[in-house]
């Protein structure tokens, strides 16, 4: 079970050495690079797990949108409009979360993404 260490328990050197991998972890599907590149670094581990959750959410959203397109999205005009709005909102939200995570990871802060960061303890690695 992974633990979520508070930022003050992690030495400054560990944070400094893991800043790049922590920032990269929020890019789509690149969270595993941090876990492979620095498995012992707790700072990278925290951001990589958060990045993994974000990636998982993106995949789930993609699947949900594909299902929507194949079903309700076929309703003339309304289906397309609702789908476009949902796509825009989701895309903008994911982009904002990614930029927020990259910024926090690069500046050495152990900040949680709102709503998503609370689920970090449930990540099985």
């Amino acid at each position: 079970m992974s633990t979520d260490p508070p930022s003050e328990t992690i030495p400054r050197e560990e944070i400094e050495s893991g800043r790049v991998l922590a920032a990269v972890a929020y890019l789509p599907a690149l969270c595993f690079i941090g876990l492979i590149g620095a498995p012992e670094n707790r700072y990278v581990g925290f951001h990589a797990r958060q990045g993994f959750l974000l990636f998982l959410l993106e995949v789930v959203a993609c699947i949900a949108l594909a299902i929507y397109d194949a079903s309700l999205g076929r309703i003339p005009l309304l289906g397309f409009l609702v789908g476009a709005v949902v796509r825009f909102v989701l895309g903008f939200g994911f982009l904002a979360a990614t930029i927020y995570g990259v910024m926090k990871g690069a500046t050495g802060e152990m900040a949680r993404i709102p709503y998503l960061g609370d689920a970090i303890r449930k990540v099985p690695f």
């Binding site: 800043r19 790049v20 920032a23 990269v24 890019l27 789509p28 690149l30 690079i33 590149g37 990259v102 690069a106």
Partner: protein, 131 residues
């Protein structure tokens, strides 16, 4: 010769280059295939095929943008890191230099300023000037 930063993040650099190459390959494929297919669908008057190829081009462009975004993000993060390290190095050097200069300077005494003020006062005195 590779710098320590390049050696350290070689995987990320290669990934970034890989993503960039993949993005351009996708774009070239889309640009090569789509116009021909769209033209054929238009000539045949097949609307279903036309919509299929247009959606194919759209998703191809989306993949291109996504790959490009990831590649450029990695490069930006690496550039920021490199910049931060250089800034830290320069600051450290400057601090060391300033310390060395401070060490070589004679120790400051309280009388120096008093003498200076007296000297300055002497110049102002009438009779001591061009005399």
């Amino acid at each position: 010769m590779a710098t320590p930063g390049e050696k350290r993040f070689w995987l990320l650099r290669r990934l970034s280059k890989g993503f960039l190459v993949a993005a351009w390959i996708v774009l070239i494929l889309v640009l090569l295939v789509t116009p021909v297919a769209v033209a054929r669908a238009l000539i045949q008057g097949n609307h279903e095929e036309l919509i299929f190829w247009l959606s194919y081009a759209g998703s191809g462009l989306l993949i291109f943008v996504n790959l490009l975004w990831v590649a450029q993000s990695i490069q930006a993060i690496l550039a920021i890191e490199e910049n931060t390290r250089h800034t830290g190095y320069v600051l450290e050097k400057l601090t060391t230099l300033a310390q060395q200069i401070r060490d070589r300077l004679p120790p400051e005494t309280g009388t120096g300023t008093e003498e200076g003020s007296e000297r300055g006062a002497g110049i102002d005195r009438p009779g001591l000037g061009a005399g």
